[in-house]
Structures are given as C-alpha cells and as structure tokens.
Symmetry: C2
Subunit: 309 residues, 2 copies
Amino acid sequence: MSGNLPKKVQITDITGRDGFQNVKQWIPTEIKTAVLDQLAAAGIRKMEFTSFVSPKAIPQMADAAIVAEHMRTKYPEMELVALTPNLRGTQNAVAAGLKEVSYVISVSEAHNKANINRTHEASLADLEAIAKVSPELFINISLSTVFGCPFVGETPANRVLWLIRECLQRGAGSVTLCDTIGVANPVQVHAVVRAVREKFPDLRIALHLHDTHGMGLANTLAALEEGVDIFETAAAGLGGCPFAPGAAGNTSTEDMVNMLHRMGIATGVNLERLLGAVAIIREKIDAAITGRLASARTYSEFSFYSCKA
Amino acid sequence: MSGNLPKKVQITDITGRDGFQNVKQWIPTEIKTAVLDQLAAAGIRKMEFTSFVSPKAIPQMADAAIVAEHMRTKYPEMELVALTPNLRGTQNAVAAGLKEVSYVISVSEAHNKANINRTHEASLADLEAIAKVSPELFINISLSTVFGCPFVGETPANRVLWLIRECLQRGAGSVTLCDTIGVANPVQVHAVVRAVREKFPDLRIALHLHDTHGMGLANTLAALEEGVDIFETAAAGLGGCPFAPGAAGNTSTEDMVNMLHRMGIATGVNLERLLGAVAIIREKIDAAITGRLASARTYSEFSFYSCKA
C-alpha cells in the first residue's frame, strides 16, 4: 500500500442531490426526507441533500426549500450543503438558512455549456457575485468533468489547476474533484490529485467518483493512497448527470463504507442502518439499485463480515 | 502509485467454466462455443473454458469433452485449462487432450467439504494421485476462500501459506488465489499477496477476484501494485460458486481490460470484440450482465475513450 492511508474518512452523502436529481418520476417530499432521516440515523454527518436550481430545469428539486427546512430543524448539528448552479440558486439556499453551497463548474467548457448553459467566463463572474451574497457563506466548488468529458474526451490536468486557481481567487473555500461520467482510472486519479495537492497544499479536497465503468472503488483506493479523506457518495448508487450522457450511478455509500471499514478506516457510519436507507429506496423509489452490497447482504456470509469500524 | 505496475497483464478468461457453471438453464454447446470463439477473436490467449466434473454435481458442464475437442482443434496455440475437482476429472481432462488443469482446494476446510465434499487430507492425497496421471500435465491450484469463507469468516493468511506449501510438495506448478465470495479488501490483498511472494518468490500466482461487494477492481489495483500480472475474469461478470452463498459474479473481463488499458497496461485484448462476446451472452444466455462497461458503452462517450493498449 503506497503512502499512509487515512485512518478516518468523511463520507458526504449526496443521495438527496445527485441521487434524487436523476430519478425521473417525482419522489414525494416525505419519501425524500424518510431516506435522508435514515441516512442521518446511520451516522452521516455531512450531506449535499438538495439543489437550489430552476424547477423547470430539474423538477425533482422543486421542494428544495421544504427539504432544507426539515433538515435544518431536525439536524442542527449536521453539515448541510445544497448544490447551486448560479447566483439565484445561492440566494435561495441562503434564504433557506444554509451556510454552505456547492457551486458547480465543469472543467470542460463544452460540458459547462451543456450542463448550466454558460461559458467559463460567465460562471466565474457569477462566482464573484455569489461570494458577496453573505459573509458567512462557505463556497465549495463542485468541479465537474475533472477526468473526462462526454463531449471532448480526457481532461488536461493543467485546465483543472487553472480553474481551481480562478475559483479560489473568487472566494471558493474548498473543491470537490468530480469524475462526472466515471471514466477516471487509478493512474489518472493519482496524477491529478497529486498535481492539485502540490499546487494547492492547504486546499481541502473531496472526490466524487461515478461508477459508470466499475472503477469507483478502485479510484477511491488510488485517492486514499494520495491522502484524500473526503468522498461524496450516494446510497444505492443512485445518480448520474442529466446533461452528461453515460453518467450512470455514483459510487454507492454502502459499498464505499463497507470497503473502508474492511480496510480498517473509520467513517462513523453504521452499515446496517445505511442499508436501511437502501431498503427504503428499493421499496419507494423507481430507480435501479446499482450498489453491490445491498444484493450481497441477503446471503448468510454478510453477518460474518459485518464490520464495526 | 506504489511499486511498479506491470506493463502487461495476462487475462485468463474463465467465462466457460466459472461463468457458465453458474447458469441454471442449460446452455446449448453451440452457444457456449460461440461465446468462446468470440473471446478468442478478441485476443484471449488463455482460457479456463470448462470443468471436468460429475454431470450430476454440475449438469451445465456435461459437454466438457465436446467443448474441449472444439477448442483444441480450432485453437492449437491457445493455453487451454479445465478445472477439475478430483482424480477422475483430471483423467477425463487428459483424455480430452488437455495439458493443464486447475485443481480446486479451499483454504477453509468447511468450504472444501461443502464444495467438493472432502477434507484437506483427502484433497491433498488426491493431488498426489493427480500428479501421477501424466508427466506432461501442468497442475495449477485454484485455491478457494483465500480471503474469506461464507461459513467461518476471514481466512488466516498462515493457512493460505500452509496449503500452498502442501500443494507444491505434491506437484502443483502454479497457484490462483481466489476470493471466492468477493469479500477481500485492498489492504488484505496487499498483505496476502506480499506474504505469498515472500514465502514463495518463484511461484507464478494469479488472482481471481469476485465482485460481490463491488471491490473487484479495487482489489485488482492492490494486486497490480504488488506486481501480480495474471488475473482470471469472466465476460459479462458471469459466475459465482454454487456452493458458496453470496458469491455473485466474477470481476468482468471487459471492466478489467478497460481499466488496465486506461491505466496504460497492455492485455492484447480488443475491447470492442470482447464486448461482442458480452452481446452474445446478453442475447442467448439467461443470466444477469453485472459488468458495468457493457451498459455504459451505449453512450456516446464510449467512443472518446476507446483505448488501444
């Protein structure tokens, strides 16, 4: 094992945002909150739980303010984050009482245009305005297509470094490196994470790895070896990107937690309760369960391997 | 990235054995050979393509001799291996003209009894007899439950080392370390492979990693970092073990080849043709396609990422 693996990893669950956002059929608000409640009961302490976005663009997120109210009231200790694509969404998130937003920009300008219909210049200008919304607002950047873009292919690492610098200069506080369409490979993850760390040694970075090609956990291992200790995952492997063809499924929270625990890395998450959230999704939401563990655990072997880390 | 990754990996495709063996409905011989022909066309140069086993125990393998005749005649240059659980199966494999067999023994004696109904002592005695069947016969050991057993939990590494030594003393020429039920984690893979390499530095070892918990490619990465350059995989992620509850699916040949090529590691396998084999399986065989790539590739992004390594 190269490097020193972190002893503890923070799981930022994004079921409520990246997961639900990609479900076509409307999920009633009480089903959304039932899943989020179960994730909270499992010990998730940070969630990107909704997106403040035009309901015309993504109807599934139309109840963002109601879900935010539920979460803020019920879990005052939890770190609650909403994704926003623009100034208006950020204003709405702040009005809903949130202290952190994830502002999304794609490293690939072609994807940025397809996803949020603007150039890099326009996205960065908006970020400047967003940074002025509230002095207390923490801005994470959800950096999309860090490893590859469905429209233009592999992403040059120097474009990633360039865009991070531009964002930091405009008030961003942390960055999530997103493999939006799940095409990163472990060699690339090592290289990109190392380059980002070398250029921005004090920057807090998270990884968001889709499992489109089955490499989600292999890429996680590569990132762990580089010292990354924050990962964004979605229960049941829900998710994708409505404007990125081929982006089927996040690395599932339960498969990630299971691997980490087996590796002796603590997450603070209770796996049995986490699988309870997957059970609600299976029963109530019309979406494929792509995480592996929820199928495997019906077998007797699971009990032998239930890890407490 | 720790260590030096191998520049080239040998894929031993086991679709014909571990894959087909776990399909309940009879697969007509001509469908079996159609899949194997496509795998050969894709550049697979070593196959564990059938099992010489009692048709009462595994009816799906009843046409082993016919498939062997097809493969031997059509692919005289290919390394052809059959799995055998006992002396009789080995005699039948040799009679069918094979020069290599994989003899299966579980490190967990409880699993050995459940799988092939014998003690370690009886399995090892049989191995002695098998080694005398033909002076030209090469014997690989398919070492099951190397990382964990569905009946007794995690496998102690010293039992793995003990059993390898016993097998080598009785004429075994190489060993495949099998994660039969897909519960290994990358830390364990590093530790076990390193222990085996230290104890038996000249031994040729392969890894056989089920994807039950989604860790197949992460464990592959760990093994690559330890210098392992032979992996057993099945197209479409077919496979499992009929006597190991929870053993759903091998790491798929196509997901493995895709990751290796993206990492710059050569396999000699053509990914497009390999996906042709998956297409035959999808159309003609009643089994779940658990490999990810075959679903992902319908999207436009695939063409951007088609790797030639």
